[in-house]
């Protein structure tokens, strides 16, 4: 946990306990340290799964989730609902990955190895890939996370009516894709 407290004082090397004691009061170093760590422990894996589903394994999910936790730490004092904050950060991170990837021009990193899937899981992954990133996010939040449309709208930063439209168009596409196999 020592590293947590010195994060804002980022230097060129790994942080030290001395740095930690000098850190400001915004982060969890002066609050209940165990809170951040317990959130990290309990939500890391579910968020990676959310990221991989949201992107249909087309983005570096671990990197995006780790980024979200770093951002959470740095805003720890002002974030009231860490789980909701992380979900928004991860979904947005997946959506903006395309722009980030665009920076790399032709020299894109290799696609990550994929888990072996069979049956509905394989069919769903392939079907998700026909959706746009925003449509995929809406579908996963609705049918995997079971979020209501209003909450999905909050995550995606749009109106509930837009979510309804996104889901409707997505389901039309998915129906076609899933019925093909």
């Amino acid at each position: 946990m020592a590293a947590l407290c010195a994060l804002r004082n980022m230097g060129s090397d790994r942080v030290t306990p001395k740095d930690a004691s000098a850190a400001g009061a915004d982060g969890p170093c002066e609050g209940p340290d165990s809170d951040f760590e317990s959130i990290y422990t309990s939500l890391y894996r579910p968020l990676v799964r959310l990221a991989r589903l949201t992107s249909a394994d087309t983005v570096p999910a671990e990197e995006i989730v780790q980024d979200a936790f770093v951002q959470l730490y740095r805003r720890w004092a002002s974030v009231r609902e860490p789980a909701a904050y992380l979900r928004i950060a991860v979904v947005n991170g997946c959506r903006s990955w395309g722009r980030r990837r665009g920076l790399q021009g032709g020299q894109r990193p290799q696609r990550r190895p994929e888990p072996v899937l069979v049956g509905d899981a394989l069919a769903v992954r392939e079907a998700l890939r026909v959706l746009s990133p925003r449509q995929r996010a809406a579908v996963v939040l609705r049918y995997f996370e079971d979020l209501p449309e209003a909450e999905i709208a909050h995550v995606l930063g749009c109106r509930p009516g837009t979510v309804k439209s996104l889901l409707s168009r997505s389901m039309t596409k998915l129906k076609g894709a899933l019925s093909e196999d």
């Binding site: 942080v15 990290y40 589903l53 722009r99 290799q110 072996v116």
Partner: protein
């Protein structure tokens, strides 16, 4: 009332999530300062009135300095004969910036202050144990979620030459507005860089061009306007090999292309690649420039990593073989499959090729996004070309 599609979707998503293997890194590793920086926004360069005044005050001297530091077209520089490389090629890895030495040991290459995940292309070897890198630098650590975290805006690409002791020998900003830069190869004196239009925005995409960036002066000369969007490239002597087939496009029907450009005469020739190729992972030309090894992926239910040997003299595919499968699956669950991840390739001589892979059966939890490669996980496949 749930429709069949909804039910199938829920079941499929749950099964898909259960199949994922996720390893949580230690918290202290996550919060390493270097790790944090590379997630930030690339530096934006706002031109303020103050900056204009400052530039004016700097005057002619500054302008002259800039012309030497910034990449410039170098139409006056004639293409010269590059001596063919001799001896074994260095086996440098991509993803994790390391090198497999001739004795089989692994070393991590220093990045000269660049972030690993900010690299645009793997390190490229230079004589004397040096190497050159290209990547995004000076990213701003503070990123507001409200600003939609991620790389957008105007990134600062830097080219860095690192000497054999790990010291930075040269560093230079190589940004061109609205373009990405990728390091594809290097001759002893020049970095071969693909400059391609950014993919964001509404601009129609064009393949871009390949330039040779003089490592000493920073001057750039155009090598070729491209007909294809490049994926990987290699240079041997005066032969530039460019391959198309973009990883991540996920198009099972995608086709790959191979083009050879004569840097002296300008001749360009197309050569065949296997029809099953959907993404090119790597390319290495033999030192005599007559044979090219293309490591490629074929997507499908069991995505494959394959090696094609292309004879440039006859313009034929000499061989096409399976190296492994690009998937995560312990051997007990997937008998008959060989889970691997491609790392790099190099010719020991004109007939002997080494291909480096990660053995994902040894460590199914190996994370392509951040884990270093260990000797236990490293597979070296050696092939002899008749």
């Amino acid at each position: 009332v749930r429709t069949d599609t909804e039910t199938r979707l829920r079941v499929g998503l749950a099964d898909y999530a259960r199949a994922m293997r996720v390893e949580r890194p230690p918290l202290d590793d996550l919060l390493h300062p270097g790790h944090v920086r590379l997630h930030g926004r690339p530096r934006r360069r706002y031109v303020s009135a103050l900056a204009v005044v400052a530039v004016a005050l700097v005057g002619l001297a500054g302008a002259l300095l800039l012309t030497t530091l910034r990449p410039t077209d170098d139409a006056d520089v004639k293409v010269g004969q590059q001596p063919p490389a001799t001896g074994p090629q260095r086996l440098i890895l991509e993803g994790w910036p390391g090198e497999v030495l001739p004795d089989g040991s692994l070393v991590e290459l220093p990045l000269g202050g660049l972030d690993r995940l900010g690299l645009s292309g793997p390190p490229q070897p230079l004589p004397g144990g040096r190497h050159v890198l290209l990547g995004v630098r000076d990213v701003t650590p503070e990123v507001s979620l409200d600003e939609d975290a991620g790389f957008e805006g105007d990134p600062a690409f830097y080219l860095v030459v690192v000497d054999a002791d790990g010291n930075v020998e040269t560093e230079r900003e190589v940004d061109v507005t609205d373009e990405s830069a990728s390091l594809f190869a290097a001759t002893p004196t020049e970095a071969i860089v693909a400059r391609t239009p950014r993919e964001d925005g509404d601009r129609p995409l064009t393949p871009g061009r390949i330039v040779a960036h003089n490592l000493e002066t920073g001057r750039e000369r155009l090598i070729a306007e491209l007909d294809i969007r490049p994926s990987r490239a290699d240079v041997v002597g005066d032969t530039l090999v460019v391959v198309q087939g973009l990883p991540g496009d996920l198009d099972p029907n995608g086709s790959c292309g191979l083009e050879v450009i004569d840097l002296v005469g300008g001749d360009r020739t197309q050569h065949p690649l296997p029809t099953g190729c959907s993404e090119v992972l790597g390319v290495r030309a033999s030192s005599d420039g007559q044979t090219v090894a293309v490591i490629y992926g074929a997507v499908g239910e069991t995505p494959e990593v394959r090696l094609a040997i292309v004879d440039l003299v006859d313009s034929t595919i000499r061989s096409d073989e399976l190296l492994g499968h690009n998937l995560i699956c312990p051997p007990t669950e997937c008998p008959g499959l060989r889970p691997v991840h491609y790392l790099g390739a190099a010719w020991d001589n004109d007939a002997t090729l080494r291909v480096a892979l990660v053995d994902l059966a040894t460590n199914p939890a190996w994370n392509v996004e951040g884990d270093p490669v260990t000797k236990d996980e490293l597979l070296i496949e050696t092939r002899t070309v008749e």
